[in-house]
Amino acid sequence: MAQPAATAGAEPQSIPALLARNADRLGDCPAYREKEFGIWQSWTWAQAAEEIRALALGMLNLGLAPGDHVAVIGRNRPAHYWAMIAAQMCGAVPVPLYQDAVAEEMAYVLGHSGARFVICGDQEQVDKVLEVQSAAPRIEQIIYTDKRGMRKYDHSRMNALADVQAEGRAAAQRLGPELDARIAGLDYDSTCVMLYTSGTTGKPKGVVLSNRNIIETARNTSEFDKLTARDDVLAYLPMAWVGDFIFSMGQAAWTGFTVNCPESPATMMTDLREIGPTYFFAPPRVFEGQLTNVMIRMEDAGRFKRWLFRHYMGVAHRVGPALLDGQPVGLIDRIAYGLGNILIYGPLKNTLGYSRIRVGYTAGEAIGPEIFDFYRSLGINLKQLYGQTEASVFITQQPDGEVRSDTVGVPSPGVELKIAENGEVFYRSPGTFVEYYQNPESTASTKDAEGWVATGDAGFFEPGTGHLRIIDRAKDVGKMADGRMFAPKYVENKLKFYPNILEAVVIGNGRDYCTAMLNIDLSAVGNWAERNNIAYASYQELAGHPQVYAAIREHVEAVNRSVAEDEMLSGCQIHRFLVLHKELDPDDGEMTRTRKVRRAVINEKFADLVTALYDGSSSVYTETQVTYEDGRKGKIKATLRIEDVPVFGEAPMQKVAAE
């Protein structure tokens, strides 16, 4: 099936209009799939349009008014995507929320958006909404998808989604004209969605994105990567995240490709393998996790297999990226790569679920060069993009054939970029958000009168290629006591490229030297411990094990060596480090839901550790409050060791001075 040709002038100006167009042109093509009861169930565009219309009629029947907000809290399921489109049809604004947020986080967003309707995935979400109802008094109706356990609830203002649809179907005659009028009233300036930014500082802000933002962005980027109705994506990232909205709603509606929803979050990897998406997006940690798994399994394999794997990965490393970029490759290398493809790469890609991948993106954090090269050498067209919620994701992205691990690519189609004097990156694009909901001050301070938006990231254009390179968050880039540049993220990323290190927090702004707090990766270090007969009873014990410390120390030293090579940033070498006794966790507020470290929170919470890192002591006793998954609090106690690491170049002087 060919991609629907866009005829200028008569372009659909809303997602419901695109849905109608898809039902018309691609009626028999699969629109949504979901694995349930062990089988992939699918809906064509025509069927999906019918389901969505029934749901919209049902919501209308319950009194949904234009301009209302409809919160959607649940995992990626067709029904939840339908609920968002159905809300749009009624002239309302969908507001997807992070489903793993605890009740109090949810209370703020529900209260701030003033949602009248809430779509809940299951009983757990309903319970959370009921718990925070006092903070969000405007909630009138709860609609739930999964009926399990819901029988005993007071149903005076609560309905099952299927029942809402049934009532909608029954009311089709009566409410149909009203619904059609509301759909016809939608245009480019109507709000398409409101998404709350995770916010590394302060309260989340509601980013209002119009149909223009979403549809123009979807169109530009779909054309950039030549996406068609035959593509498949796996929708598994949080629905509250702008990326999922662009991929699974915007681009899906624009091109008409198929959105596949996993059976449950735990089966994501199996479902990925079964679907074999052609267009795939994942944050670096997913790729890192998969690579770690592959390496762990290879360590356990027989000697011949290990040799075969190493040999052909060597070939792939040499030849793969060149082949992918369309550069000339010798005949012998081509044959060796072809053989490797039969023996190693093909089966490996199949195991990972990447056999059919045409375009893959990673973003959100920097990806380790080794990890990036690993996937590209297998022939997977993995690229990087740079974006944020306020831009409807896309600011820059890498064109085919110009892919490198240390840049984020060229401006996306329709995006203008400029770099301010302090290095901060500004952009202006059709995807630039309308406003922060009920927050004109923040809107004004972020977006100027000409539409330029500050990204908050510092970066520069690489001379020659014109690719953008991001150094760090602009506000995190600081100065050390002696005036040298301090860019923590730059060093943290280098540390995190080691599979043993899950998270790193580098400290040093305004200080004499830099130090680091690290998290080990339990699966990687645990496996290593098992193979080396190191017994441990808990995460804490493993993290504090002398041999683990020794291994981590080697990594830090290697990072120092590589940081020392960069003249501008050589001051950021790590002089002292410790391994934390607990994993940094969004539930404890140490990270955002998208797993970005919150520096201020960490500096405050672990103030005693920071002090110890700078007062020269070799160990420190600490007590830390932790929050369990069910919201209860507890305390863990530990004595942490602090180790010194050699630094390279100019730095040793200061280390002596500090001790």
């Binding site: 349930e36 009861f37 062990g38 089988i39 399990r148 356990g149 029988r151 005993k152 059976e263 449950s264 735990a266 089966t267 199996t270 998954e629 069910d630």
Partner: protein, 272 residues
């Protein structure tokens, strides 16, 4: 002993029906040892009934009497208004009684899915040959049964381990698979022998929720043995307390908790 009233309503508003299983004067001896001494109690339709007691009190023997594995020397077992004679375990299973075991009894080498499918064995009517050549009734039957099993997998949230061999699973999940297998038989009466033994707090909470959900969703009557008093008091509607083969208490959790004999049995007083 036999109470013919129509049942009662629980504190959380569940309707408990008439007597499903009635045990009258059960005595079970192993040689000279009397494991169960003249015990009578009933289990009502839709109820969660706990049997508690110190180690060696005869709880598991009691469960084995209900499941038909042991035949008591004295006493009568009435199920759904009929007196039950000595039966083979599979005949009891056909009556609608399923159980899990204190020491997990799954097929380690088989996948989770296959293990649960064995719970459907009594529902399959096609013959050995038909099943072996996968033709005719066998195929349709397997599809129907598989669908039922998939619903249970979904219900117990074990989709991610569907194809994993049971031997590779951690203990808490094995327990859940055992529950799934018992549920696959669509029992009227589900017997759980220490469903939470050896679990950590989180696993216990999960299991408790599943037990309540099973009762709520399928209306299954549940009899369970459990040592964790907190769990028993939270879950069950009525509790039987046993000590040295005797019944020393029977009633709601609150009643049982206030019973002096029960307190003595648990805190330990000299038996002389």
């Amino acid at each position: 002993m036999l109470d013919q009233t129509e049942g009662y309503t629980t504190a959380d508003g569940r309707q408990i029906g008439p007597v499903l299983l009635d045990l009258r004067g059960i005595t079970l001896r192993f040689g000279g040892v009397e494991a169960i001494k003249n015990i009578s109690f009933d289990i009502r339709q839709g109820e969660i009934r706990a049997i508690i007691g110190p180690n060696g009190a005869g709880k598991s023997s009691m469960l084995n009497v209900i499941s038909g594995f042991y035949v008591p020397q004295d006493g009568e077992v009435w199920f759904r208004g009929h007196k039950r004679g000595p039966m083979k375990p599979y005949e009891v299973a056909r009556l609608g009684i399923a159980r899990t075991f204190q020491n997990i009894a799954l097929f380690d080498g088989m996948s989770v899915l296959d293990n649960i499918m064995t719970g459907r064995l009594n529902k399959m009517k096609s013959g050995f040959i038909s099943q072996a050549i996968w033709w005719g009734r066998a195929e349709a039957e397997e599809i129907a049964n598989r669908e039922q099993v998939e619903r249970i997998i979904d219900f117990l949230e074990i989709q991610n381990i569907r194809k994993t061999p049971v031997g590779r699973l951690p203990y808490g999940l094995k327990k859940r698979v055992e529950l799934a297998r018992a549920l696959a038989a669509e029992p009227r009466l589900l017997l759980l022998d220490e469903p939470m033994a050896g679990m950590n707090v989180e696993e216990k909470e999960d299991m408790s929720r599943f037990i309540l959900d099973v009762n709520d969703e399928f209306g299954t009557t549940i009899a369970l043995i459990e040592h964790d008093m907190g769990v028993v008091m939270d879950l069950s509607d009525r509790v039987v307390v046993m000590d040295y083969g005797r019944k020393i208490g029977d009633g709601t959790p609150a009643e049982v908790r206030g019973n002096q004999e029960v307190i003595d049995a648990y805190l330990g007083v000299s038996h002389d």
